[in-house]
Amino acid sequence: MTGVGVIAPPSLDGMRLGFVLAEDRLGHYGEFRDFFVRTFDLDRIGLSRPGFLRAPSGVTYALVFIGRSGDAFPSGVEIHAVVPALEPLEEAAVDRDLWAILRWIVGGVGGAWTVEALEATGQLFRIPAAVEGLA
């Protein structure tokens, strides 16, 4: 149970997109790109709108997909927290949400990519959210 799920596009009135993470080379391992294409129906939707996720903290995150000439779409992705326009991000909560989103992505990619291997990697490098998961 990751507590992460795809949601319909929310109203962005009074909100802003707070940049938190970017990937320039989503196709480095093609199965990651395939996961996003499959999950967000990107072959049909293309660049028309971001994908949206609800994270464990309750914050919504927008996934803004990037196209690059010569590369399969999407070539990259930015993750933005959807937050009240004038309010600061809560850094520790964002970090825990990102870890949960990464667990969700790895679980969705599947095959040789396992949440267990991700957890072990996070613990090896003492990533706070991964270490908290042990408690």
Partner: protein, 302 residues
């Protein structure tokens, strides 16, 4: 370019005058000490010139000029903010710009990690400038990759899409824990050196190359740099330069039984491999011993 403040414990060990050169559109930091035939010391991911702090005095006292560049993207050099800036060819061109700009000849190249492919790329495209090679925990051919680089845990997981920017970017995992895990004397490293590698990568954007370099390691026939690595291997096979191989006995990234042995096969004239105490970052555990070996080797090189 934001100024980087080195912690006191690091500055006390790194007393060399900072120098900067404009190379290939970027500001490259380097150290230039001593006089004589030049020895150019090349680091890899995610380190910088500090890795060679114990080499400067023995080499200069033995009559060598010591040049230690920080790769663009690391150390005190400028750090591009887009993944697409970085390529193996681009980094070879950066090094070429520096060494030609300094008008260096009779160069001994000391190559570690990504300093191997970049240094060898310079050597084989500027053969009239190079006198000798010293190779440590590196490689110079397309395939197969190291067993370490095939494993899902931790290697592939730590630089995968989005995971790399999170683990190595937001959390500086390679400079913070990765180097620590790849030395033998971890307590000494933590007390004396770890801050050097963490402090020069102060924010996620500055750490870009720590997850980009792993993506340039050829894993199969579709790899981006496959042709360049194939060229390196052909050139190695034809290379007659004097060479010295030094490897960490405990190296679990580039296993000496495989990688040092393959270099010895390609460069049968090479001395060694000499095994010293060390994992991948062998300079941290055996810097003075390796420096002494290089001094001794160069005494015998015409």
């Amino acid at each position: 370019m934001p100024a980087i403040t080195l912690p006191d414990v690091i500055r006390q060990q790194w007393l060399f005058a900072p120098r900067f050169a404009r190379v290939n559109g970027w500001e490259m930091h380097y150290v230039d000490e001593g006089a004589g035939d030049p020895v150019v010391l090349l680091h890899g991911n995610p380190t910088w010139g500090f890795l060679y702090r114990d080499f400067v005095a023995p080499l200069t006292e033995a009559g060598h000029r010591v040049i230690i560049p920080d790769m663009i993207g690391f150390g005190l050099s400028e750090k591009p903010m887009r993944e697409h800036y970085h390529s193996l060819d681009g980094h070879i061109a950066n090094l070429t710009a520096l060494l030609r700009g300094l008008e260096l000849h009779r160069i001994t190249l000391v190559c570690h990690d990504w300093g191997g492919p970049t240094g060898l790329g310079f050597a084989f495209s500027n053969p009239g400038r190079v006198r000798a090679l010293v190779l440590m925990s590196t490689w110079g051919w397309p395939l197969p990759p190291a067993e370490f680089h095939i494993r899902m845990f931790p290697w592939r997981m730590m630089h995968a899409p989005l995971l790399g920017p999170y683990l190595l970017g937001r959390h500086n995992a390679l400079a913070r824990r990765g180097v620590y895990l790849s030395v033998v004397d971890r307590a000494r490293f933590a007390a004396r050196a770890m801050a050097a590698y963490e402090s020069v990568l102060p924010d996620p954007a500055s750490r870009l190359l720590t997850w980009v370099w792993p993506r340039w390691i050829p894993m199969n026939d579709a790899a981006r740099a496959l042709d360049r690595f194939a060229w390196l291997e052909r050139e190695l096979r034809a290379c007659t330069l004097p060479a010295l191989l030094v490897w960490g006995r405990e190296d679990d990234v580039f296993d000496p039984a495989i990688f040092a042995t393959r270099f010895k096969h390609l460069l049968p004239q090479a001395e060694g491999p000499h095994l010293v105490t060390g994992r991948h970052f062998l300079q941290e555990d055996s810097g003075p011993e390796i420096a002494a070996r290089i001094v001794d080797f160069l005494r015998r090189v015409p």
